[in-house]
């Protein structure tokens, strides 16, 4: 045991020595004017923020969902629907399972919205709310961290395992430590596609379900519980996973200790020291496609275009709007901006065309895409 630890430390030291020098520390970025020619063009947004001051029932927004022109925000005090400039609030009195709405998913075929709450799962369909709890249905547990819809199935990540509802037959299937490789049962996130379904299991890494065969597979951090990354890009960055996004055959995983991308053969990991991530503590990830993804961290919102990074946030020290761009070579540039998301602590994101909607700990932010012609 001791020998293993010793080998690990030696190996880590060797790896650390082999790493290229990290980019300039945050807060010491090169001014835009000095590197103007080299700054990659990253998307810019005008942020409009929504809080209790302008319609939200609570400014703590856990989740956001875009459904065409309609926006759904899962807050600490109910579900808010934004359409035509007006907010409509759904509460427990309306049939919502619980006031804290942690996760949202859209059934694109039917238009129904599924809301995972701290007290069960609710389906909102044309104003009607049907609620599933661990007492009145086959739902594993009332704390629903994640939800996804694929075909006839609703996939659910709960505090006591994963489960699936067949909306056609009403049958529930439950998965936990007894019938899958997961050792812990805190399932934080789920992403479903016709071929695979992925679960982010807090403490147990990434769980993969193959739809065709019903087989399970598990992806773990090869460094196990070691906080030092010994084997970079050799596997999942960490077992404390928080979310997963599976798009175009590529899996993106966020953890509290960095993020990962997996193409089925190779892993690529992202840490603050060698990427544009503003923090390794990542609450969620959502991919645009196989090469572009957004990361919601505790220190801002990060966008990765496959090469370059951009961070959007109120500055950590002054609170002033901030946009930081990092190119492939590690050059960091501050882009002057006039607006920023409502808060640094990012919890979720969804896309509305080229616009973005961001759930933060102190408000919902609408990032209105600014055409490139307006960039200076």
């Amino acid at each position: 045991m001791k020998r293993t630890a010793m080998f690990g430390i030696l190996f880590a030291t060797a790896l650390a020595l082999a790493q290229p020098p990290s980019h300039p520390a945050r807060g010491h970025a090169v001014p835009a004017s000095a590197k103007a020619a080299a700054v990659p063009t990253m998307p810019r947004y005008h942020f409009v923020n929504y809080t209790t001051a302008n319609g939200l029932p609570n400014s703590h927004v856990y989740s956001v969902l875009v459904d065409g022109d309609r926006i759904w925000a899962g807050t600490d005090d109910g579900l808010a629907e934004f359409e035509n400039g007006h907010w409509k609030i759904y509460t427990v009195a309306d049939g919502l399972a619980q006031q804290a709405v942690l996760s949202l998913a859209l059934d694109k075929r039917t238009g129904a919205v599924w809301a995972g709450t701290m007290g069960g799962l609710s389906r909102i369909s044309a104003g009607r709310i049907d609620t599933y709890t661990q007492l009145n249905s086959g739902l594993s547990n009332d704390v629903v961290y994640g939800v996804a819809v694929e075909g006839d199935y609703v996939w659910v990540a709960t505090a006591a395992g994963a489960c699936r509802l067949n909306t056609r037959t009403g049958q529930w299937s439950l998965w936990n430590e007894r019938n899958t490789p997961m050792r812990e049962i805190w399932v934080y996130g789920v992403s479903a596609a016709p071929d695979k379904v992925y679960f982010a299991v807090w403490g147990s890494g990434l769980l993969e379900y193959t739809q065709k065969t019903g087989a399970w597979d598990m992806y773990k951090d090869p460094d196990s519980e070691t906080e030092i990354v010994l084997l970079r890009n050799q596997g999942l960055i960490h077992d404390i996973t928080s979310a997963v996004s599976y798009v175009d055959g590529i899996v993106w995983v966020s953890t509290y200790f960095g993020d990962s991308r997996y193409d089925g053969r190779y892993w690529h990991n992202f840490l603050t020291k060698d990427s544009g991530l503003p923090s390794n503590f990542t609450n969620s990830v959502k991919a645009v496609d196989g090469n572009h993804a957004w990361f919601c961290t505790d220190k801002g919102l990060a966008y990765y275009d496959g090469t370059n990074w951009a961070v959007y946030r109120p500055a950590l020290d002054t609170g002033k709007p901030e946009m930081i761009v990092r190119d492939a070579a590690g050059h960091v540039t501050n882009i002057p901006v006039t607006t920023a998301p409502a808060h640094n602590y990012m919890l979720g994101i969804d896309f509305q065309g080229r616009d973005i909607w961001v759930a933060t700990a102190k408000g919902l932010s609408h990032g209105i895409y600014q055409p490139k012609e307006s960039y200076r």
Binding site: T110, S125, N136, S140, T167, T169, Q171, N176
Partner: protein, 625 residues
């Protein structure tokens, strides 16, 4: 002013005379028969060809579509369909006729020109009506057991989608421009215990294939046909408005059901519920609805009262506009807009109106006839008799009794009010005059009853003769008694009701892995700690035998202080998945709640040692029963 009341009074008088006249032995045009094997056509729904020359009758009993010459009434062709067909519709180009077969879970596609069934496609659970979008690309099917709308590709029959509808989704209407599809449902949506029932009209955008609105139907449990005017601005739903939260003693003092319509659409603005009944005479179970092409009239068939109500639509709308207060319970209101009650055959159901609005066809399900009403004279111009047995068997008489409301006080309701289409109504009732809120009982299903006696939740009725006879007469009808022969026929009919197909069993009857694990839990004799489970606390002891009952009464700890008896009859498990809510008073909304909420001390079976997934397995098994 006076003339307006004459038809209603005349109809009420006719109906009253009919109610007073009680033969000791059933008579009629046909001869009673002891042979109960006759197969009756039982026409349920009607359609007319665009030119009005052909009348299509969907016959539930014989499982076919009869094509009739609308003028002569002569049957031209009989097209076989599936088991218990319940709804049909033409494609927009009238080249295809779609029939949904409720027990087969299939859709028959008929080529109208050749009258041949050209395809049979899978539908959802108990498909009950069908409509096609105006582009001819998508089929929408209301599934009664599935509680949803199954969406099929109209070219291939492939299932494309499933839209959540109301519980017991059954009837549909699409607007002439194809912009909206309206769906109703016969059981109320789940709601908090002992609160008024809630239903909805599910509104679908057929182009987007999405539910875009749910029009609330407060206090409604049992919504049947929905019709929409040609301009799409006026919609009508035929429905039941039960009063199940107060003792049924109110039959004598008011009513247990109001038979109503909900009027919706741009012509009325906010949906309004209007009564069809009169102060001292009821018109039970409105079912079929038609709106005149010029929106001058609305026609409603009453399955329990053997008549058709004719409404002056404009007078009704004017009355609604003048009275914005709820009027559903004001039974004097109907006199303002009802212009006629036209007696027709037994158990009238589907209706079809000719293109010019001059003829209304009414399918009389339980005497195999079609009444043709001349809407200009408001009289039955002629009656078409469908080919079938001439004799009326005892079983058929029993069914006629079951569906008739003539035996209850003022013709308020019949067996089929609570046992909709011989099933249940998903309501909890305060039946006996023992005080407000005492002895609340959930309505139990009545399928497959042989070998499940005694009856009643307290097990006090040893036989169906007692259950359907003196008890019903005393507590329900409060009017008159059945004669012995009629009671015998009724019992014969109720005993004959088969169990519906079990949708959650696999096609080959083999249990899935989860169901098999659940079966082992159901039959276990020791708990997970290897401790013996007392015999009376084993699932399979009380719920034994093929029906899942040992026909004895127990105290399983679910009694309430408001119950009159501590012991409860062990209910059968047949098709238990369909019959929620559960427990004797309906307090458990789902099967899960029986054990997660109402079994804290393991008196209703040893279940508190089970994990959540094991409880799920047990429920998966129960759903196969």
């Amino acid at each position: 002013m006076k003339r307006r009341f004459i038809p209603a009074i005349a109809c009420a008088a006719l109906a009253g005379l009919a109610a007073l006249w009680q033969p000791r032995v059933v008579s009629g045009t046909a001869t009673p028969s002891l042979d109960n094997t006759e197969l009756y056509a039982s026409p349920l729904e009607l359609l007319l060809s665009p030119d009005g020359s052909r009348l299509y009758a969907l016959c539930e009993g014989t499982g076919d579509v009869r094509v009739l010459d609308a003028r002569s009434g002569r049957t031209l062709q009989t097209i076989p369909a599936g088991h218990d067909p319940r709804g049909f519709a033409f494609s927009p180009d009238r080249r295809r006729l779609f029939v949904v077969n409720s027990w087969d879970d299939t859709l028959s596609v008929i080529d109208v020109r050749t009258s041949a069934v050209v395809a049979t496609w899978r539908a959802g659970f108990e498909p009950s009506s069908v409509e096609e979008d105006r582009a001819g690309k998508t089929l929408f099917i209301a599934d009664r057991v599935g509680n949803n709308i199954t969406v099929l590709d109209a070219a291939t029959g492939a299932v494309e989608d499933t839209l959540e509808a109301g519980r017991g989704a059954s009837y549909m209407a699409i607007t002439a421009d194809g912009g909206r599809l309206y769906t109703t449902h016969i059981y109320p949506n789940p709601g908090p215990y002992r609160t008024p029932p809630r239903s909805e009209i599910t509104v679908v955008d057929p182009t987007r294939v999405m539910v875009v609105q749910r029009i609330p139907l407060p206090s409604i449990a049992g919504a049947f046909h929905v019709a929409v005017s040609r301009d799409g601005r006026l919609g009508v739903v035929a429905e039941l408005h039960p009063k199940n939260l107060v003792p049924l003693a109110h039959v004598e003092h008011g009513w247990a059901f109001v038979d109503t319509l909900t009027i919706f659409g741009a012509d009325v603005g906010r949906p309004v519920e209007v009564p069809l009944d009169e102060l001292d005479r009821y018109f039970a179970r409105p079912f079929g609805v038609a709106i005149a092409p010029n929106k001058s009239r609305i026609y409603v068939s009453h399955g329990g009262s053997d008549c058709v109500t004719v409404i002056d639509a404009q007078r009704m709308l004017a009355y609604i506009r003048r009275n914005r207060e709820p009027i559903a319970e004001d039974l004097s209101a109907s006199a303002r807009y009802v212009v006629a009650r036209i007696p027709v055959g037994k158990n009238p159901r589907g209706v079809a109106l000719s293109g010019d609005g001059n003829l209304l066809y009414v399918a009389n399900r339980l005497d195999d006839t079609i009444s043709v009403i001349d809407t200009r004279t408001l009289r039955v111009a002629r009656t078409i008799r469908l080919a079938g047995p001439e004799r009326v068997t005892a079983l058929r008489r029993g069914e006629q009794t079951f569906y008739s409301a003539q035996y209850s006080f003022q013709g308020q309701f019949g067996c089929a009010n609570c046992h909709i289409d011989s099933t249940f109504d998903d309501l909890q009732w305060d039946l006996e005059p023992d005080g407000f809120g005492r002895d609340i009982v959930d309505n139990r299903p009545i399928e497959d009853l042989r070998g499940t006696n005694p009856f009643k939740w307290n097990g006090k009725n040893p036989s169906l003769s007692m259950e359907c006879g003196p008890r019903t007469e005393m507590y329900f009808w409060r009017s008159q008694n059945y004669d012995d022969l009629r009671l015998a026929d009724l019992v014969l009919y109720v005993r004959s009701l088969p169990s519906r197909p079990r949708r959650w069993s696999t096609a080959d009857g083999q249990l899935t892995a989860a169901q098999e694990r659940g079966r082992e839990i159901f039959y276990r004799t020791t708990d997970k700690l290897d401790r013996p489970i007392p015999q009376t606390n084993q699932c399979a002891y009380c719920h034994s035998g093929p029906k899942g009952t040992n026909q004895k009464s127990f105290d399983v700890g679910t009694g309430k202080t408001t119950d009159n008896s501590g012991l409860l009859d062990t209910p059968q498990l047949s098709n238990i998945a369909l019959t929620g809510p559960y427990l004797h008073d309906g307090s458990a909304q789902t099967l899960e709640e029986i054990w997660t909420i109402y079994n804290p001390h393991d008196r209703h079976g040893r279940t508190n040692d089970l994990t959540k997934d094991e409880l799920n397995d047990l429920i998966e098994y129960l759903r196969t029963r």
